[in-house]
């Protein structure tokens, strides 16, 4: 019954969120607001909706006690080439506005309704969290199991309270996914470990969001420099201190703490590849950031024999080049190199090669058959047995509503990390997998819609983060069910483990940041406050 209610809540959340986002798809464009020095504070051409008023959260704060908290809202409608203004008092606030081309003013229909039903998103997400909290308590009968859910509720409330007009879709999706992270952690761990993991996720997300609020992050190469330095330090640490775990050297033990530096290096790699706005790179800078540094990272991934990490770094690199490189020839050459690189990996890594051959089966196996799990992965006890067991757990043992009493993955290595989707589908039913994919689809849609409001720096960084997460999710789930000939990649926000929290928590923070507008505060006379 609990799983059925869970599906209902998820379906409601997804339907509501898609609807809200669809309705708000045109609520984007605003004005260009400059201060006295001519610096752009709010760039309406990038799609800001500019709010004026006495409120602290207003884009242009007018410190006039006679004005309303939300005195006026301006947005630019490209189709009609108009600046559409809305005001409680029936007139625009007194602020300098730089219109695009030759605007005409008109009063639009009231759009507050767009914000009203937007509040359903966090409400439904909170309802889902409460439902999962009740389910967890019913299963474990331990009050400490409520702790991670409380952290998630607080995070959701904070993200909703940041701005009145903010619809926290990314934050809600992250919170929902993390409830399953709690499930995965509790499979072999304690509620305190789950709470620490959730805290790490939300902490990294909040930190990333907070850092990206600062304007200098976009205009100066500070983040890039820090990212490169940190990545190189972690690479050295990994290569010096790592021990062999299942054929890979990507675990470092410091005292009682073990972590995977490669997880943090993935997100640092993304930061390093994004060009700040209005900063021209010299030729040597380009070679350093787009050739030398990536080569070091790829070589590192090969040395530690982590093919999953290598693939993820490769995809981030390709995306960064395609998004930022204006020369199509260079882009095509790099794509071709990446495809050739996949073959190179199979030549270099015997483990990857044997696994690929096992996945592919014999020469007559069609690609569709291989993608849907043909080949040698047919035995629950021999080579490929992890994928077979996970498939059995999800699609046979899980049923439609989950099997809470029988565990096919008991004793199977990495059941709650690499095979987490099989484990969760076993517990909650195989439709959960479809809902998880829909949640990623929702995240994709919301981020794509919100990104139009941001600078090119943040757009690129957001796109790379989204690519990293979606690719990791595909690798993890695909490897779990034998669709892809790879295991060892954790699922963002689902798999047990603290190392992934650093990477994907940061990614979630970047995604959340893309949906949240900054406020620019000027006084009535146009002076910065």
């Amino acid at each position: 019954m609990h799983n059925f209610l869970q599906y209902l809540m998820l379906a409601s959340f997804l339907a509501c969120s898609f609807f809200v986002l669809y309705r708000r798809r045109t609520v984007r464009y605003g004005l260009i607001v400059r201060d006295e020095q001519g610096t752009v504070l709010a760039d309406g051409r990038q799609g800001l909706e500019t709010t004026f008023g006495r409120s602290r959260n207003a884009d242009v704060r007018l410190r006039d006690p006679t004005l309303s908290r939300q005195q006026a809202v301006f947005r630019y409608d490209a189709k009609s080439n108009q600046i559409i203004a809305w005001s409680k008092a029936g007139e625009a606030g007194a602020a300098r506005v730089v219109p695009h081309n030759s605007p005409r003013f008109s009063l639009p229909r009231a759009f507050s309704a767009a914000y009203a039903y937007g509040s359903l998103v966090p409400i439904l997400a909170a309802g889902f969290l409460l439902l999962r909290m009740i389910g967890a308590y019913g299963e474990f009968r331990d009050l400490t199991v409520l702790l991670p859910f409380c952290i998630l509720l607080v995070y959701l409330i904070l993200s909703t309270a940041v701005r009145v007009d903010h619809v926290p879709v990314a934050e809600a999706v992250m919170s929902i996914l993390l409830t399953y992270y709690v499930d995965a952690t509790l499979y072999l761990g304690t509620p305190v470990e789950a709470a620490v993991g959730v805290g790490l996720y939300t902490g990294c997300a909040i930190l990333a969001y907070w850092v990206l609020r600062f304007h200098f992050c976009e205009t100066r190469p500070v983040l890039r420099t820090v990212a490169v330095g940190a990545a190189l330090a972690l690479i050295c640490l990994n290569l010096l201190l790592a021990s062999d775990v299942n054929g890979s050297y990507n675990w470092v033990r410091l005292g009682s703490v073990s972590f995977q530096p490669s997880e943090a290096i993935k997100v640092l790699f993304a930061f390093a590849l994004v060009n700040p706005v209005r900063v021209s790179l010299t030729k040597w800078h380009k070679i350093l950031y787009f050739a030398v540094f990536p080569a070091i990272c790829f070589g590192y991934a090969l040395l530690i024999r982590d093919v999953g990490c290598l693939l993820q770094l490769g995809v981030i690199y390709l995306a960064a080049i395609v998004l930022q490189e204006d020369n199509p020839l260079i882009s095509l050459c790099l794509i071709a190199f990446a495809i050739a690189g996949c073959k190179l990996v199979l030549l270099v890594s015997s483990t990857a090669a044997s696994r690929y051959l096992g996945w592919r089966g014999n020469a007559e196996t069609s690609i569709w058959a291989a993608l849907t799990g043909a080949g040698a992965f047919q035995s629950p006890y021999h080579y490929g047995y992890q994928s077979t067991r996970a498939t059995i757990a999800a699609f046979q043992n899980g049923g439609l509503l989950g099997n809470g009493s029988i565990d096919v993955l008991d004793g199977v290595l990495a059941a709650n990390s690499d095979l987490v989707t099989g484990l969760l589908a076993q517990k909650h039913g195989w439709p959960l997998l479809l809902f998880l994919l829909l949640l990623y689809g929702l995240l994709l849609y919301s981020v794509m819609q919100a990104m139009g409001q941001k600078s090119k720096f943040q757009q690129t960084l957001t796109a790379l983060s989204m690519t990293l997460m979606v690719f990791a999710m595909l690798l993890n789930t695909g490897g779990t069910f034998g669709i892809i000939a790879l295991t060892g990649v954790v699922n963002p926000a689902l798999s047990d483990g603290m190392s992934a929290a650093l990477c994907y928590g940061t990614c979630f923070g970047i995604l959340a940041s893309s949906g949240l507008r900054r406020s620019y505060r000027v006084n009535l006379k146009g002076e910065s406050v």
């Binding site: 995306a319 479809l434 794509m448 695909g478 034998g482 669709i483």
Partner: protein, 419 residues
């Protein structure tokens, strides 16, 4: 922004394509793995399963017993978690007793299984076999209810250490078919008595140690014998002549079939075991003696001798206490009484410490030492209604089986505990 939108669109297409592949996995691969799923899932179910003997002593309680003796002695009955023994209790639980629900996945029908086994006797029988270095089996049936109290077989496997085993360890000798030797003579006698009791009882034969069809052991001449004497002396020439006089090959074949000696469904709640074979067309004389191409399982012979003790009523052997006993009158009460009386001196000669009847058997083989058989049924009012069968493979003769059975019966069955 256009490039970013294109990238996001590509990611969305990947997600959609991946969803199709996932649904493809669910339909295609999951269907192919359904049978393997039962075994894998069954392994999880087995952690919730308890198997006990008839007194409630756990044999398996979510995991194997901590005692190696128990693990080895019961291996052929309960099996292992990997389905190595297709007709064992754990394999049955994983497959037959496991149902698949579309809503909630796999469910098991039973949480506790009580066997008819007596663990104390089972361990004792296994210990005697193992200590004697024998490859063989001991079977004990309650001939009134069909309960299988003992079904021990050596060599066996330690389920906790399955990689360390001898050849043939996975085979339960109680359920395999072997040349029955002279234990077949009671069957031949019963067939003749059922056909024409008067003629059978009046039958007489003068044994000179050998004739044109057969020879007795050591060509011992037994002299003038009636059927009763033929059984007591285990006279090959006499029983061969008896079969030729009263029976046709077809009649002997049909009789063996009718008294369940050739059934594969024994125990009846774990069917699919090896079936016996008997074709008197090849050589009626030697088939009647228990050689030729005769192959019978120890448990089926045990059940037959139990039917003799049970006044002609054969009760299907079973391992689960939940199984309702199925009785069938396979021979006349008078036939049963005649055979029991005739075979009493054999058991007495073996030193059994109570009233019983039985038959030895030495199954000759071409290129190996003979097998040894001894089967008895207890008829004493103070003793439990049990039939005990001992079969020892290539042991050299019935005397070894006789000694082991006597030791087991006197020491453990009729008194004393397992040390």
């Amino acid at each position: 922004m256009r490039r970013i939108k294109a990238l996001f669109l590509a990611l969305g297409i990947c997600l959609a394509g991946f969803t199709c592949c996932l649904l493809g996995v669910m339909v295609r691969q999951a269907k192919e793995l359904r049978e393997q799923a039962r075994i894998s899932v069954g392994t999880g179910l087995l952690e919730q399963l308890t198997i006990t003997d008839r007194s409630g002593t756990p044999i398996y309680d979510g995991s194997y017993s901590e005692e190696e003796l128990t693990r080895r002695s019961t291996f052929h009955i309960i099996g292992d978690l990997h389905g190595s023994l297709p007709n064992a209790v754990l394999t049955w639980q994983q497959t037959e007793a496991t149902t698949l629900s579309f809503l909630t996945g796999f469910r098991s029908e039973a949480q506790t299984i009580q066997l008819t086994l007596d663990l104390r006797l089972q361990n004792a029988a296994y210990s005697l076999l193992q200590d004697g270095g024998y490859r063989g089996t001991v079977v004990v049936l309650d001939y009134t209810t069909g309960d299988v109290l003992v079904m021990a077989s050596t060599p066996s496997v330690d389920a906790e250490n399955p990689d360390n085993y001898e050849d043939g360890s996975f085979l339960c000798k109680a359920l395999l078919a072997y040349a029955p030797g002279s234990t077949m003579k009671a069957v031949t006698a019963a067939a003749g008595l059922e056909k024409d009791a008067a003629a059978a009882e009046a039958f007489a034969y003068t044994c000179g140690g050998f004739d044109d069809y057969a020879r007795c052991a050591d060509t011992t001449a037994h002299g003038v014998q009636h059927l009763r004497d033929i059984l007591i002396h285990s006279c090959n020439c006499g029983i061969g002549a008896f079969a030729r006089a009263l029976l046709s090959p077809e009649e002997l074949n049909e009789f063996a079939q009718s008294v369940h000696l050739l059934d594969a469904d024994i125990p009846c709640d774990f069917p699919g075991q090896a079936s016996g074979h008997l074709d008197a067309e090849d050589d009626l004389t030697w088939s009647a003696i228990g050689q030729s191409t005769d192959l019978l399982t120890p448990i089926s012979l045990c059940a037959f001798y139990g039917a003799i003790a049970n006044q002609g009523v054969w009760v299907a052997p079973h391992l689960l206490t939940d199984t309702e006993p199925v009785g069938e009158c396979i021979i006349e009460q008078t036939t049963a009484q005649y055979l029991a009386d005739a075979l009493m001196p054999v058991a007495a000669n073996a030193g059994i410490a109570c009233s019983a009847f039985g038959k030895t058997g030495t199954a000759e083989l071409d290129d190996a030492p003979p097998h040894g058989w001894f089967i008895i049924s207890l008829t004493d009012e103070q003793a439990p209604p049990y039939t005990i069968a001992v079969f020892l493979e290539n042991c050299g003769g019935a005397s070894y089986a006789k000694a082991l059975l006597a030791a087991f019966t006197n020491q453990y069955l009729l008194g004393g505990d397992v040390s």
